[in-house]
Amino acid sequence: MIESEIELIKLAQQGNRRAFEQLIFKYDKHVLNIAYSFRNNSDDAKDIYQEVFLRVFKGLKNFRFDSEFSTWLYRITTNICITYKNRSKKEMFDSLDSEINNGDEKYSDYMPSDSKTDELLIKNETNKIIENALKLLPSQQKMAFTMKYYNEYKIKEIAEIMNCNEGTIKRYLFNATHKLQKMLAPIMGR
């Protein structure tokens, strides 16, 4: 951990709100991406994001500098992802999405003009198969899988974040990949 981050954490632990915001905004995008990779749903990802940082806000005083702050933070993130349950929410305000996006578009929907229809169809079908396969995985396996394949962590890092040994992560990946291999076999022409 670099000196300036240690100082920032100490200030945040003393209740300095600005320091807290500065600290979390270094990592929050990654937290959101971990949650999004896991849930594949932006509303769920934002729910998880809220919960993670509220827990960090309340629990930061207990952070003892015995690991990297990022490791501690991502551990909280993965734990919340794993235990997250869908819940219906009453919206306090009208959703802004339809207004901001003029109701019918997202900025990520700008498709490159040279996309071929067939390739898109195959990609969509593959996406669905992968998504369905992931839904069938136990949460711990799914988390190891998304951390490895989507967030590109090393097994050693995943083990540290998920607080288990490397052998367990390897087993999770082995099981997840083989399930996926079976489900993808028809379209991969095996």
Partner: protein
């Protein structure tokens, strides 16, 4: 190495988790073993397929929304904390601890009686012309200093609103949105409340009124403009900006949108300002050169990619 050992390494090979010597062992083995070679090719293909189909990173706009929501929640938590810490510090005052239990009871009773004597009054305004009257202990009329407005209920169907606010004593007010005093109180709630949640509640009360007569009310409009431009809380600024969209656009409102577009440090709010300008354009309002010039500048110079895209889209639609 035999096939059994190698098979355990193949997956790790496909996800770049092997050391150099292990990679060499696998490479050497697959030169002689067709089955393991085929297995490895399958795993490499799986790995490539998964990576090619990984979900896109969540976009900047969603991140901004998540941040806004988090900052609102942290504000609310901190406001609750400060109230509780006041209570806590009161209770831990050292002289209070030293009093014996009987004296402590009497002391608390005295505090309660004092608070009761400052009392509550319920006021029903029957006429829209009548000023709010408060009476002091000598039954004399006094001009109220209004603060800490709280919302109790509102009925969008009838326009009835129930509020609480602090004068020198707590006052309950029940009136109708068409009353000037009601509008004055709500405008104050939007700008003067200490709690951003209360400000947002006030803005939503305005937002939900079915009778749009308030759109001609200068107090309400100015309160929303002030909140949209300068409230510290991004949630308040956002809601004020959205609600301003219900007002008939005039020069003040357009100036507000432009000022927000150039000065607000939150990208989502700047995008909302462009959306509001788009809406008034679609209602037939003429966009002048100054407005176009400001939006063009944002399309080139804004440090947020989404704002740039949105501004560029506005300008392209103008051409």
């Amino acid at each position: 190495m035999n096939c059994q050992n190698i098979k355990e390494l193949l997956l790790l090979y496909s996800i770049n988790e092997l050391e150099e010597n292990e990679i060499n062992n696998v490479n050497n083995h697959i030169l002689q073993c067709v089955e393991c070679k085929r297995e490895l090719e399958q795993l490499l293909l799986i790995s490539k397929t998964i990576k090619n189909n990984k979900p896109e990173e969540i976009d900047e706009y969603e991140l901004q929304k998540a941040r806004l929501s988090l900052l609102d929640t942290l504000d609310d938590l901190e406001n609750k904390k400060s109230f509780l810490s006041i209570i806590k510090s009161y209770l831990s005052v050292s002289f209070y601890k030293k009093l014996n239990p009987a004296l402590s009871y009497i002391f608390t009773l005295c505090i309660g009686v004092l608070l009761g004597l400052t009392g509550y009054e319920v006021i029903n305004i029957k006429s829209t012309d009548k000023d709010i009257e408060t009476l002091n202990m000598n039954n004399e009329k006094i001009k109220p200093l209004i603060e800490n407005v709280t919302f109790l209920s509102s009925n969008p169907e009838t326009g009835d609103v129930e509020l609480g606010y602090t004068v020198s004593k707590q006052v309950y007010y029940k009136g109708n949105f068409s009353d000037d005093e009601t509008k004055k109180l709500i405008a104050m709630a939007v700008t003067n409340s200490n709690n951003s949640g209360l400000k947002i509640t006030g803005i939503n009360v305005i937002n939900k009124q079915k009778d749009k007569a308030y759109i001609k009310d200068e107090k309400i409009k100015n309160a929303l403009i002030l909140a949209a431009k300068s409230d510290r809380n991004v949630g308040v600024r956002r809601q004020a900006l959205i609600t301003l969209g219900r007002f008939t656009p005039d020069d003040n409102i357009i100036e507000t949108y432009l000022e927000i577009l150039t000065k607000d440090n939150n990208a989502a709010i700047r995008i909302e300002a462009i959306n509001k300008l788009t809406e008034i354009k679609s209602e037939g309002y003429q966009i002048d050169d100054k407005t176009k010039s400001i939006i063009s500048e944002r399309a080139e110079k804004d440090d947020n990619k989404l704002v740039k895209i949105r501004a560029a889209k506005f300008i392209n639609e103008e051409i």
